[in-house]
């Protein structure tokens, strides 16, 4: 700005000097013109004066000639005429010379005086007319008037002869004086012309300088324009100005075109720019905000802090005919002039990658936290148990994978698939929760959610299952991570003893490899941990009493564990009442859950019993009706025993709200299926308000192996 100001001043000064020079030149020309006119008249006068100079001797000669002619009685007419002409011209020229106002020559005055004194002598001569001679016999003689005429001529001739020298000198002096004057004027004119030429040169110089400055200025402006254009072309943000009508100005950066996929911004309103790209409520807020920027109520910092477009989610063309979500960051700056806000400068940047990166970072952070939690959780789990869980889960996930791969075409087939997936997932989740491996439980829960969503759909296709495959892969990767961590933990724990290979990493032995008579891992700690967690999560108080679980033969450990986890969860969610309710029913504040495993004949018997609310056949029937598992007619015809069997139907649950522990409607279905799979039996007995008891009978372990195989 300052440079431009100084430049402007310099140009003003130059222009002023130019004008002054032009004025000087004009004045010089005017004065020159006047001088030239003066010189021209001086020259005329000089000519006159030069001529006048000759008159006295001409006059004297003519008078002499006239006298001689009179004396020789020759014809005088022509000489008289010539004299009269000369006198008239002399008088005329002298008068003209004297009329000049600036002609202040004393010599001229003297000459005039002399003429005035002399001219009366000439008057009678010039007045003479007629014939000066009279003819006589002796020849021609002067007449009387001729004699008078002759006397006058002689007197004038004599006087002229006497004075011709003086008059000539006087007139010569006048001529010289005129010459001096004229040459002085000529010298002045020369000076003036020189001045004029100099002024013209200076003017030309000033014009050249002005032209030069202007060219330099234009070049600078051009360069500045070019730089602005380069900036607008290169900058990665979209820049534009908004006017008081919230419309975009005529200049914007090229990035804006890339960001919005259009190029017709000039005059476009801010509202139109965002229309169709953001939800109406966001658009309304944005427009209100822009209006606020034009007011003076809020200062820049405050406006910045309430900018609703700091991270704007928009839907944009992805260049392949589809839409994609992008994140834009708008910044606004007021451009303030003398009369308040002139414009609002907007900058827009595409921060999609930043937002996604931040999310990734957050996810990574959450994962890291989850891993730490997991590690802490794992440290409390028996390595053998953990290994067994990982094996079971992996098998379960392989099963899920197999279900996903199963070919299906009809809706019924798809739904059957969903049912199978649900049961497997539910079972894995139960175990993970029991071991307090929440990162796994949550992932499985998420998969369950996906299945639930699909179940609600009216139509299903193979593509609907694709997202699940991805999630499943993620879960498998997570499991591998857990296994790795378990290995490290075991290595850490076993380091001093340099013990046998870590249990968690061992390959799952096939049932055939397991000695039938050998008992497997002790599942008591898992159950106790789960009971503790369930009690806490559901705010229930109950005691878990376990007996005989150490006797569970290895082939049954997984089944027994699955069944007990499911039944324990059912008890905690549905069975055991809140302490206040129990008190009101004159029951002990703390509930009791008993688990007993023992040999029974050739096989085994597992009894699970809680002293909770029991199961009301009517509640079961109502729930089954709601879920369209049975019809109203079937419900009406159903006896207590059949009604109780409803809890083993797939997709049945009395819990309306879906939680990690209940409400999915798989669970007892999984338990029953597993038991039947092993060739066992399951039964339930209940007394509403008093207890629920499940009894599972399992065949001898060898029989189970063959049943599974």
């Amino acid at each position: 700005m300052n440079v431009a100001g100084a430049d402007r001043n310099r140009r003003l000064v130059t222009a002023g000097a130019g004008t002054a020079l032009a004025l000087v030149m004009g004045l010089a020309l005017l004065a020159g013109f006047r001088l030239a006119t003066q010189i021209r008249s001086s020259i005329t006068e000089l000519q006159t004066a030069s001529e006048l100079q000759t008159y006295p001797s001409v006059l004297t000669q003519q008078l002499t000639a006239l006298r001689q002619r009179l004396e020789t009685r020759e014809y005088t007419g022509q000489a008289h005429e010539e004299l009269a002409g000369t006198v008239a011209r002399f008088k005329h020229d002298l008068r003209r010379l004297a009329r000049r106002s600036d002609m202040q020559s004393p010599q001229l005055r003297d000459a005039q005086r002399m003429w005035q004194a002399y001219s009366p002598l000439l008057a009678p001569i010039l007045a003479f007319s007629g014939e000066p001679y009279v003819d006589t016999d002796s020849g021609s003689s002067l007449s009387d008037s001729g004699k008078m005429y002759y006397r006058n001529v002689r007197q004038a001739q004599l006087l002229a002869k006497q004075n011709v020298g003086r008059l000539h000198r006087l007139l010569t002096a006048v001529t010289r004086s005129l010459e001096t004057q004229t040459s002085g004027a000529a010298a002045r004119l020369r000076l003036l012309l020189s001045g004029g030429v100099l002024a013209a040169l200076a003017l030309a110089a000033a014009a050249a300088y002005l032209q030069l400055t202007r060219a330099r200025h234009e070049r600078a402006a051009r360069e500045a324009q070019e730089q602005t254009r380069d900036i607008l072309k290169t900058v990665r943000e979209g820049f534009f100005l908004l006017d008081a009508d919230y419309k975009i100005g005529s200049v914007w950066s090229e990035a804006l075109a890339h960001i919005f996929g259009r190029n017709d911004f000039a005059g476009l309103s801010f509202e139109k720019l965002l229309e169709d790209r953001v939800p109406p409520t966001t658009l309304a807020t944005a427009v209100k905000y822009i209006k606020l920027l034009w007011g003076d109520r809020a200062h820049e910092n405050l406006m910045k802090s309430i900018n609703p477009l700091g991270q704007l989610e928009i839907s944009a063309d992805n260049g392949r005919g589809g839409k994609e979500t992008r994140y834009l960051q708008f910044d606004f700056h007021r451009v303030v002039g003398a009369k308040g806000v002139k414009h609002v400068l907007c900058s827009v940047s595409d921060i999609t990658s930043n937002v996604l990166l931040a999310r990734e970072l957050q996810e990574a952070q959450e994962n890291a936290n989850a891993q730490v939690d997991m590690m802490v959780g794992m440290m409390h789990v028996d390595p053998l148990q953990l290994g067994s869980f990982l094996d079971t889960t992996e098998t379960g996930l392989q099963l899920i994978n197999a279900i996903l791969k199963e070919p299906a075409r009809t809706d019924g087939e798809f739904r059957k698939k969903l049912g199978g997936l649900f049961r497997e997932l539910h079972s894995i989740k139960g175990e993970a929760s029991a071991l307090n491996l929440m990162s796994i439980a949550q992932r499985v829960h998420h998969l369950e959610d996906m299945v639930s969503e699909l179940k609600k759909r009216a139509e299903l296709s193979g593509n609907d299952f694709l997202p699940m495959v991805l999630k499943l892969d993620e879960l498998l990767a997570h499991l591998r991570g857990v296994r790795e961590m378990a290995t490290r933990l075991t290595a850490l724990k076993d380091a001093p003893a340099a013990a046998a290979p870590a249990a968690a990493t061992r390959q799952k032995p096939s049932p055939a490899e397991r000695p039938a008579g050998r008992t497997g891992e002790d599942i008591s700690p898992t159950l106790r941990a789960l009971a503790e967690k369930l009690a806490k999560d559901h705010r229930k108080a109950f005691k878990l009493m376990l007996s005989g679980l150490a006797e569970v033969p290895a082939p049954y450990v997984a089944t027994v564990k699955d069944c007990l986890i499911q039944m324990l969860r059912n008890s905690a969610v549905h069975g055991i009442e809140a302490s206040a309710t129990r008190r009101a029913q004159a029951k002990a504040d703390v509930g009791a859950v008993r688990v007993d495993f023992r040999r029974a004949g050739e096989g085994y018997e597992l009894v699970f019993e809680d002293d909770g609310a029991g199961i009301s056949p009517q509640v079961l029937k109502d729930a089954a009706l709601r879920k369209n598992i049975i019809t109203a007619e079937e419900a009406a015809a159903m006896d207590t025993r059949t009604a109780m069997a409803l809890i083993f139907r797939p997709g049945f649950s009395t819990q309306e709200e879906v939680t990690m522990d209940a409400g999915r409607g798989v669970g007892m279905d999984v338990v029953a299926r597993t038991v039947y799979g092993l060739g066992g039996k399951i039964g339930v007995s209940t007394n509403p308000g008093r207890f629920t008891r499940f009894k599972i009978v399992l065949p001898a372990a060898e029989a189970a192996s063959s049943a599974v195989a």
Binding site: T281, T282, T285, K288, Y289, K291, L292, R297, A298, H299, L302, S305, I306, N307, P308, G310
Partner: protein, 132 residues
């Protein structure tokens, strides 16, 4: 609702401040932590209706305004206060962090916005900015 006694600071003119918040703790907190000499707390109110009542009694120059309050919320109260006294300066102090709410409040006539929770320094800065 309570009308605080004037502390009678002499000299230059003091500005009267009305504190509106449904939380007693927050009201006390603002009252205690504002340290500007030119401000005098003339009253407190727990909702929009009380605020209007206190306004007619105390004619405050400045108001700190919560947004989520029973009976009459802050947004509505701002509109009414600005209607009654266009020159009033209103500082919104709210836990509602979304920008749309802030823009809405500003559009209705608020002059400043402070998010809860806030530090004493943030409060004093926000009030000082409103005075200037």
């Amino acid at each position: 609702m309570s009308a605080a006694r004037g502390n009678g600071k002499g000299g230059k003119r003091t500005l009267k401040l009305l504190i509106v918040d449904d939380s007693n703790i927050i009201r006390r907190r603002i009252e205690r932590s504002q340290q500007l000499e030119e401000l005098e707390v003339v009253g407190t109110a727990a909702n929009g209706l009380e605020a209007l009542e206190m306004f007619s009694k105390t004619d405050p120059d400045m108001v700190t305004m919560d947004l989520t309050m029973p009976q009459m919320d802050g947004i509505e109260c701002i509109s009414k206060l600005v209607q009654l006294k266009p020159a009033i300066r209103i500082l919104v102090i709210s836990a509602l962090a979304d920008k749309a709410t802030a823009v809405e409040a500003m559009e209705r006539g608020a002059n400043g916005f402070l998010n809860k929770p806030f530090t004493d320094r943030q409060l004093n800065e926000a009030i000082a900015e409103l005075i200037t």
